[in-house]
Subunit: 184 residues, 2 copies
């Protein structure tokens, strides 16, 4: 079988096994992802990520990561990092890309390269409070994939569609998520 | 006036000026934020951010930034970066934090520290396809701010509420955004 030689680096068997285990132990599927953010100065902040909860216990990434966010110089800021809205694009592109690799492995399709560009259009009159009819967030986001794989155009399109169907970030952005903000 | 001594590092006058300019030149408010993503191996990808479009022309951050995303070892991945869903938490925390600093400056409130924790709950049976009634994305996200400022608890709560009201990321996560994905 050609499938035996396909190697995209995703351990699909482990994911299929996890699926079976979680069918009878749904409480283990409850994850909590976390971040802590510290204001630096002006619009500059630094957010750290390492610990999370899942499979019934505390977990952590191998390394602690931290991310600077700021506004650009054209907003009279110091541009000490990318903007908060750009982090959404990072999440969206990386989620769809990981999904494509996992689905390709599961379908026996060898990937050679997967590249994408994401563009999010936003009217900044919203956040500046110029016009209350203009939303604060993105008007729309376009993702374009360029994929080189051992598969037909139709199979590649089906890969991308399946990744989209199972993407946590795609869901969180296209559908409403309940967010509560409190001061302690 | 006490306001004259408040210094949170946000140039509010520039933002107020921008608001006036954009009232008569709304086309300059059309921004496009961009990211490009490259699959590395398995669920690992690297997303780069530098250029964007706004104020009628191409712009760029002072520096190019790149962000690794991956799945953790408990998902049989290599944990070469935080997960895509965690990037949403980075965006949310940093957006609300920048907003708090800007609103505080505008209201003459001196901030000493702004810290937050963000927790997003997710049932991974969604992305694993165990149960089609379980959504892929977050069930809910909680943000908790701890703020030390020269203001009453009520004023601090009002700061946070106003930041939330004008936050691009809060809007993009709590309300639907149209996302199109295509293969070129």
């Amino acid at each position: 079988m050609a499938m035996a030689t396909v190697e995209n680096g995703v351990n699909v068997q482990a994911l299929l096994d996890a699926r079976e285990v979680l069918k009878s132990a749904p409480q283990a599927a409850a994850f909590t992802w976390r971040a802590t953010c510290e204001w630096k100065k002006g619009t500059h902040s630094r957010t750290s990520v390492q610990k999370f909860f899942g499979l019934g216990e505390e977990q952590q990434h191998k390394a602690a990561s931290s991310f600077d966010a700021d506004h650009p110089e054209i907003f009279a800021s110091e541009d000490n990092g990318i903007t908060p809205v750009e982090y959404l694009l990072v999440g969206l592109a990386s989620c769809l890309t990981a999904g494509i690799a996992a689905v390709a492995q599961n379908r026996g399709i060898q990937l050679r390269s997967v590249e994408s560009t994401v563009e999010g259009r936003m009217d900044i009159r919203g956040i500046l409070g110029v016009d209350s009819d203009v939303r604060n967030g993105y008007d729309d986001i376009k993702v374009r994939f360029k994929i080189d794989a051992d598969a037909s155009k139709k199979e590649i399109e089906a890969l991308v569609a399946q990744s989209q169907k199972r993407s946590a970030v795609y869901d969180a952005i296209t559908n409403p998520v309940n967010v509560t903000v409190e001061v302690v």
